[in-house]
């Protein structure tokens, strides 16, 4: 052990680096911050009562009222939802849907009506199927995102799965899983809201695909028709 008197000049003032002194002055008092604590509750998952549930969340850089109006106008749905051939209002709350492949009239289609249950402009739309063989319901929530990021949109779909086969109605006519349809529909909604178009490689030039190339197209889900967005062709 050395003699501490030779260890060097003593510090003159208590030394407070800038970032530490900031801790004192600009952060909220802890008791106020304590109000922010919460326990995470997951959105409903599939349960063992043969209901399938799927959800998707996106942050979209557009205000909630504009997004609400875009979603609420069902006549626009074929431009961004997959496998919707048409959606026609029959009344203020009832819509008639025709689902199928918009690009192939010979493909299977189904038709059914839905009814809006809750409709809070800028906040929430919920709906359910009126067709007794398609037990499906859903809701979309619009909430402000933090800062200037826009709106958080939460889409949930629930469907009764008879015999474990069919999920949401669209699954009857698509090659996608029901869960993936919910994810892709909300993604397309974000794309059309932020850019006016849906990215599309359907008429992409390419050389001969061969058998394996064609199989891969199917496996990657590329044979799902892309919704037209604001259409040119």
């Amino acid at each position: 052990m050395g003699d501490r008197a030779h260890a060097g000049a003593p510090l003159e003032e208590p030394f407070m680096p800038e970032h530490v002194s900031r801790l004192d002055s600009t952060l909220p008092e802890f008791p106020a911050a304590q109000g922010r604590g919460a326990i995470f509750s997951p959105l409903p998952q599939d349960t063992h009562d043969s209901r399938m549930r799927a959800h998707s969340v996106q942050t979209i850089g557009v205000d909630a009222q504009t997004l609400y109006r875009l979603w609420r106008d069902v006549t626009v749905a074929p431009r961004w939802m997959e496998y919707v051939i048409s959606a026609e209002p029959k009344s203020a709350t009832v819509t008639h849907w025709v689902l199928g492949n918009p690009e192939d009239p010979r493909d299977k289609r189904i038709e059914y009506d839905t009814e809006i249950i809750e409709d809070i402009p800028g906040e929430k739309i919920s709906w359910r199927s009126l067709d007794s063989s398609i037990k499906e319901s859903g809701e979309v929530l619009f909430r402000p995102a933090t800062g200037d990021r826009g709106t958080v949109v939460v889409l949930q779909e629930s469907a009764h799965v008879p015999g474990g086969s069919l999920g949401i109605a669209a699954a009857a006519v698509t090659k996608r899983s029901p869960r993936q349809i919910v994810i892709e529909d909300l993604r397309h909604f974000k794309q059309i809201a932020e850019t006016g178009e849906i990215p599309n490689v359907e008429r992409n030039p390419h050389g001969p695909r061969g058998f394996i190339g064609t199989l891969k197209e199917h496996l990657y889900g590329e044979n799902n028709p892309t919704p037209p967005g604001t259409v040119v062709h």
Partner: protein, 402 residues
């Protein structure tokens, strides 16, 4: 039109395919005047990037003349000469608005594939597999350019195509690699890889204030360009007397390079035992990427230094000395180039004569010669440093080095 198509691992063919058309309102159709083969195209050629389909048109470095524009493209018209960035960005999402253009939310039609692999999908790329959207690339006579109101930069000077072509990828990629290295005046920077991206990174490092740049490679023609055009101190790592980590210690006064740049990526070559380990594991599909350069850079870098990674990685690493990164408090920055941030300033640097990007072109070919050129490019034969293609000529055969 004619297009260069990937037909399988190691199998490139030129085919006649339909011309592209306007599909979406922000599209434009470009007649390609010049294009090139990228080092990252070799990962496609060698089969290391999954989700390629036979018939995919390759190529993401291209420029040309606007033929047709969609109704929402107001800033371009038929006849405009443009260079197109290889990333496709919408300009209106969270990421584009923050200059993070290669992370665009809205341009990948196959976002679900990238989400499965990476958690979230970045932007689509031209000609770079279906994870990145499956868009037809520019090693062809025409290309469809989505979001043409956002991406392409107009060229309104008299410079020949080959002096501005590399704005499409490699010059901004090298520049961002150098910018990500957080170079301070007086710093020493070590760069692995004297391919085109590495060479532009060397030049950019000097532009950003580096005192000295050390460049590491094994091909004499590439080391020569690094030395004579870019002013680097070069290290040939295949020299039996050279131990790279020791050389970097000796060249930096015993401290190690302040910044390291990995311009090599996932197909790193090495003669050593661990290099063999990587090759064997990769061949057996037990390891997707070969991180030899990463290991060396992490060992060599100065304490508190910055490691910048413009070299492409796609999958998973094995046996990387992350303890060295932690133990030395290393900063890391990486990713696909945020192209749109750099196009205007780098075009200015070319117009002002600060750099002549055509310095590294070694081969000028026509479209029919491209399949053979992929093999030469991969095997580093014929002193190849960069291959530029005129897709409207079948054969040029000009192999004079710059």
């Amino acid at each position: 039109m004619k297009a260069v198509c990937w037909m399988g691992t190691g199998n490139i063919q030129v085919h006649k395919v339909p011309d592209p058309e306007i599909v979406n309102p922000h599209d434009a159709i470009l007649r390609v005047t010049r294009t090139a083969i990228c080092g990252s195209d070799l990962h496609l050629y060698d089969g290391y990037i999954p989700t390629m389909e036979a018939g995919d048109i390759l190529g993401h470095e291209f420029m040309g003349v606007v033929e047709e524009v969609g109704p929402e493209v107001k800033n371009l018209k038929r006849g405009d000469r443009v260079v197109v960035p290889f990333t496709i960005s919408c300009g209106n999402c969270f990421f584009c608005k923050r200059d993070l253009w290669s992370l665009c939310d809205n341009t990948n039609p196959n976002a679900q594939i990238a989400e499965t692999m990476y958690g979230y999908s970045g932007s689509a790329l031209f000609g770079y597999s279906h994870i990145y959207g499956g868009f037809a690339g520019g090693q062809a006579q025409y290309v469809r350019v989505p979001f043409a109101n956002v991406g392409p930069i107009k060229i309104e000077n008299d410079l020949p195509d080959e002096k501005v072509l590399f704005l499409s990828d490699i010059y901004p990629t090298g520049y961002m690699g150098a910018e990500n290295a957080n170079i301070q005046p007086g710093d020493t920077v070590a760069i692995w890889g004297c391919g085109p991206v590495g060479l532009f990174a060397i030049a950019s490092a000097y532009m950003l204030g580096a005192e000295r740049v050390i460049a590491i490679d094994r091909f004499p023609e590439r080391l020569k360009l690094a030395r004579e055009y870019c002013g680097a101190t070069t290290i040939d790592y295949t020299d039996n007397d050279v131990v790279v980590v020791e050389a970097l210690r000796d060249l930096t006064g015993g401290i190690g390079p302040d910044s390291c740049i990995d311009a090599v990526g996932m197909e790193a070559h090495s003669n050593t035992l661990i290099g063999m380990y990587d090759k064997v594991k990769q061949a057996a599909m037990l390891e997707t990427d070969r991180p030899f350069v990463l290991r060396q850079a992490l060992q060599a870098i100065r304490k508190g230094g910055t490691l910048s990674i413009p070299g492409v990685y796609g999958g998973a690493l094995d046996k990387v000395n992350f303890g060295a990164a932690f133990g030395k408090a290393v900063h890391m920055a990486m990713g696909q180039t945020h192209m749109h941030k750099y196009l205007k300033p780098l075009l200015k640097s070319i117009e002002a004569g600060k750099i002549d990007p055509s310095f590294l072109i070694s081969h000028r070919v026509g479209i029919e010669e491209v399949p053979d050129m992929y093999k030469i490019w991969r095997d580093k034969k014929d002193q190849v440093t960069k291959i530029v293609i005129d897709p409207w000529r079948d054969q040029i055969g000009d192999k004079i080095a710059a």
